[in-house]
């Protein structure tokens, strides 16, 4: 097969970290090649170098056999390389057509020929199954539609190589299937796809060839037909992975701990984001909340944590109404919280580790007495906690910002669990963490459950929800699509519900 792109000895460092350590990477004509690796392995960096967004420290790039200097995305596009980023680069107030031709020279003199562009766009979208209304404004589109616009935008520029950076992270399973159909049509036409991902199931489904990166270095290269998920996982993390955390069955559930009734709330833009959410969580139970991101999960977390007001409905904890309580009151009731935004809500990054460990309990004895904080017992507590939860930090005085993602989450978890909560709200607890840290967090949550704690698990990671939950609630556009017992759930059912289908077997309290 013909090599379209050859990247040789690519090296890129950021400050003190080596993001790409002399990597060789080739792209052949008509293949789907996957860049597989954990977060921070250097996948996106490598592709941003190819797309001209980053400059490399050293290395060479050849396109169709010729050595090239790619200094900007414009250069990349003229060489036939297009990229769809995780965060879209579309102008919200423009139409789809306007976005697609944005930046291209006008076709007729100085006049922009929107009509012919629209025609081309419709034929592209038909040909590749990329359904989208050319006259819709971007802000009216769903995430999946925006992604299709990005892909059309790239194809409109006649590219040969399409780079997709974690495209399925924002899609429902059905949308992901549609995307894969499109990709298959593209490779049949001789185009090449670079698929960046860390989800093994998808990687095995769509790739022809898989290149694995670990800590910025090449960790292996496999043809799909010669490998297994297990082998890929091992190459990706560098050791054997326990795929499933053992979950103990607890047949008889306890009393309802948290009851939410008809909850309504607005999002930051003043639009109703929760539209009548009702559910209950019992002790010794994990209720998973699944859904495509942006369907009200974040607002639900905010309301339950006391940092967003609800406009209607009530929240009852252990028989007492707690609607509208402040964060401090919620903490003191024995509710532990793992917020989605661990950098901006869960931790104060510029304070040392020991102060972050006590920020929810510094005002309790023995950590303080009267107006004074008892720093010697605070430090004792911090030393013990760091040891107990195996938090990797040079010392308890280290500025929290310098810790790795997994250890940041461990600080949050340790702070919460050390207060022996009766109920836990955990939002995206393993997002962005490596497999080892994720496994640790899951083990801790499951052991809390075994000790009688009720847990509300909000996550966009379906594997996580399926693995941990006793029951699963699916949210779509601020409403409950259904609450299913774990045994009754299939991926297909979940996917349908995540796109707005209501499915029976509701266990909604009313």
């Amino acid at each position: 097969m013909e090599k379209i792109v050859e990247m040789q000895n690519i090296r890129k460092t950021f400050l003190h970290t080596v993001a790409n350590n002399d990597i060789d990477f080739d792209i052949y004509k008509g293949e789907v090649v996957t860049l597989l690796g954990e977060n921070g392995a250097g996948k996106t960096t490598l592709m941003k170098i190819l797309y001209g967004m980053y400059s490399m420290d050293s290395g060479e790039i050849y396109v169709k056999g010729k050595k090239v200097d790619i200094e900007s995305p414009k250069d990349a596009i003229s060489l036939g390389i297009g990229m769809v980023h995780q965060h879209f680069t579309l102008v919200k107030s423009f139409t789809v057509t306007e976005n697609v031709i944005l930046g291209l020279p006008p076709s007729k003199g100085i006049e922009i020929d929107l009509e012919s562009a629209k025609k081309d766009l419709i034929s592209l979208s038909k040909k590749y199954g990329l359904e989208v209304n050319p006259d819709a404004k971007i802000w009216q589109l769903s995430v999946g539609e925006k992604q299709r616009v990005e892909i059309i935008k790239a194809l409109y520029r006649n590219i040969d190589v399409l780079i997709l950076d974690e495209p399925t992270a924002v899609l429902t399973p059905q949308e992901a299937e549609n995307l894969f159909d499109t990709l298959r049509l593209l490779i049949k036409e001789g185009k090449s796809i670079v698929f960046i991902s860390h989800k093994l199931r998808e990687v095995m489904e769509i790739s022809d060839r898989i290149v694995i990166l670990r800590n910025g270095s090449l960790a292996g290269e496999k043809n799909k037909k010669d490998t297994t998920k297990k082998e890929l996982a091992r190459l990706m993390v560098g050791r054997e992975v326990l795929e499933i955390v053992e979950k103990e069955e607890i047949p008889k559930k306890g009393e309802p701990l948290l009851v939410v009734q008809n909850l309504h709330a607005l999002n930051d833009k003043g639009i109703e984001a929760l539209r009548g959410i009702s559910f209950e969580v019992r002790s010794e139970e994990i209720l998973g909340i699944a859904g495509v991101s942006g369907n009200g999960q974040r607002e639900l977390e905010n309301v339950l944590c006391g940092v967003r007001e609800n406009t209607d409905g009530r929240i009852v904890f252990k028989g007492k109404e707690i609607t509208g309580k402040k964060p401090k009151e919620i903490i003191n009731l024995g509710i532990g919280r793992v917020p989605e935004d661990r950098m901006e809500e869960g931790l104060i990054l510029d304070l040392p580790v020991f102060e972050n460990l006590v920020i929810e309990s510094y005002d309790k004895k023995p950590l303080s007495s009267g107006i004074l904080i008892n720093y010697s017992s605070v430090k004792d507590f911090a030393e013990r906690t760091v040891k107990e939860y195996d938090i990797k930090t040079p010392s308890i005085y280290t500025i929290t910002r310098t810790l790795s993602g997994g250890n940041l989450q461990k600080v949050i978890l340790a702070r919460m669990l050390s207060r022996n909560p009766e109920f836990i709200i955990a939002s995206q607890p393993i997002r962005g963490l490596d497999v080892g840290a994720a496994e640790y967090i899951h083990t801790k949550l499951l052991s809390a459950r075994a000790n009688g704690v009720g847990i509300l698990l909000i996550s966009e990671d379906l594997d996580e929800v399926l693995m941990l939950s006793d029951r699963i609630l699916v949210m779509y556009e601020g409403e409950v699509m259904g609450i299913l017992d774990r045994e009754d759930i299939t991926i297909e059912k979940l996917g349908l519900m995540m796109t707005g289908a209501r499915i029976g077997g509701l266990h909604e309290p009313n």
Binding site: L15, G52, E71, S72, P73, K74, C305, V307, K326, P327, K328, I330, I331, R337, P339, E344, E345, G346, L347, I348, L349, D350, L351, E355, I359, E360, Y362, D363, S368, I371, L372, I373, Y375, I399, R401, T402
Partner: protein
């Protein structure tokens, strides 16, 4: 065609010893930059700086005068740093100084029948309350309605300064001299001299004591922890159960109160009456001092002493070398800019990107 864009990213903070060195580096760099102006005037910068420091430190008289000037600077520096620790941008120390001076003068001219210690204490409390109340107003507006603190605190300076002028040219005009100044405060309300035959008064000791008290509050108490967490990240602090609005209001009232003490110290320790130009901008210098001192009370103490040397020595330098005394203000300004630039460089990573 290439556009250049800058992006700031927080970086890992430098170690503590480096942060201690930063103000010293800022001082050296700012003096180096200031010498460009001296060279432009065809003066030898080394001679000029010699007289600058000699005039501020070289003689016993200069040294004692430096301590007199340092007193309000320590207080305004501490005042600003308390507010800045909570990321409440109190630019209003100047107005709070006058508010404190006003209420302290009022208490002082009532001629209460009180023994010296109690009268002095009363005047101090009055000054603290005056500054604190004046600072509470913008803090409440900020906490309740999110009114921008920089704008309100700055503008309220002018309200208070003109209000004091109005009072002094109106009801409080000295009936004997007819100058726009208040009558003298009661003998018992005045600060004692600390060193005979000098202007150094117990206000200096009070200022140093405040340094220790504020250090204790910030580092050892729950309140200090709440103020620091609020300043470090208000959103996270709120999520984690800290009452950030309360922290901001308490920090601002403490800040205004301490700024008010600077006013008390000038009235009861130096002038014994209220005048409309009581402060040549001590409140604004407090901002520079707080930043140069790294918002650390002891850092603020040293920064205040340094600026006091420069302000005191500027006269001597001016006379001996033949340059305007405003060079002291220039040095202050440059020091602030250099310190801010250094903070930016060491706390953030600047990535420069060339767009297409």
């Amino acid at each position: 065609m290439s556009l250049i864009s800058f992006k700031l990213e927080k970086r890992i903070p430098p170690p503590w010893w480096f942060r201690m060195l930063m103000p010293i580096m800022a001082v050296i760099i700012s003096l180096a930059i200031s010498s460009i102006f001296l060279l432009a005037l065809r003066k030898n910068p080394f001679t000029a700086f010699y007289y600058l420091f000699y005039g501020g430190l070289g003689t016993k008289f200069a040294f004692l005068e430096m301590l007199v000037k340092a007193t309000p600077l320590i207080l305004t520096g501490i005042a600003v740093s308390i507010a800045f620790l909570a990321k409440y941008w109190n630019i209003g120390a100047e107005g709070q100084l006058y508010a404190g001076a006003l209420l302290a003068t009022w208490a002082g001219i009532q001629n209460f029948n009180l023994p010296p210690v109690f009268y002095v204490l009363l005047v101090i409390i009055a000054g603290f309350v005056g500054g604190g109340v004046w600072s509470f107003i913008p803090a409440y507006l900020k906490a309740k309605f999110k009114v921008d603190d920089v704008v309100t605190t700055l503008l309220m300076n002018y309200i208070m300064i003109y209000f004091v002028s109005a009072i002094l040219t109106g009801p409080w005009r000295n009936p004997v001299s007819m100058w726009p100044e208040s009558v003298n405060i009661a003998e018992n309300a005045r600060f004692m001299q600390l060193i005979p035959r000098s202007r150094v008064h117990i206000g200096f000791l009070i200022a140093v004591a405040i340094v220790f008290v504020v250090y204790f509050i910030v580092k050892k108490t729950k309140l200090g922890f709440e103020i620091r967490t609020t300043g470090a990240n208000p959103k996270a602090a709120n999520f984690l159960g800290i009452n950030t609005l309360k922290s901001i209001i308490i920090a601002s009232v403490l800040s205004g109160g301490v700024a008010g003490l600077a006013g008390v110290s000038e009235v009861a320790g130096v002038h014994y009456h209220l005048i409309h130009n009581l402060s040549p901008g001590y409140g604004y210098s407090g901002i520079v001092i707080a930043m140069l001192g790294g918002l650390n009370p002891f850092g603020v103490l040293f920064a205040a002493l340094y600026f006091s040397v420069i302000i005191t020595g500027a006269q001597m330098m001016s006379r001996s070398v033949g340059i305007p005394p405003y060079i002291a203000d220039v040095i202050q300004g440059i020091t602030l800019i250099v310190m801010l630039a250094m903070l930016l460089l060491f706390e953030y990573k600047i990535s420069i990107r060339r767009g297409k």
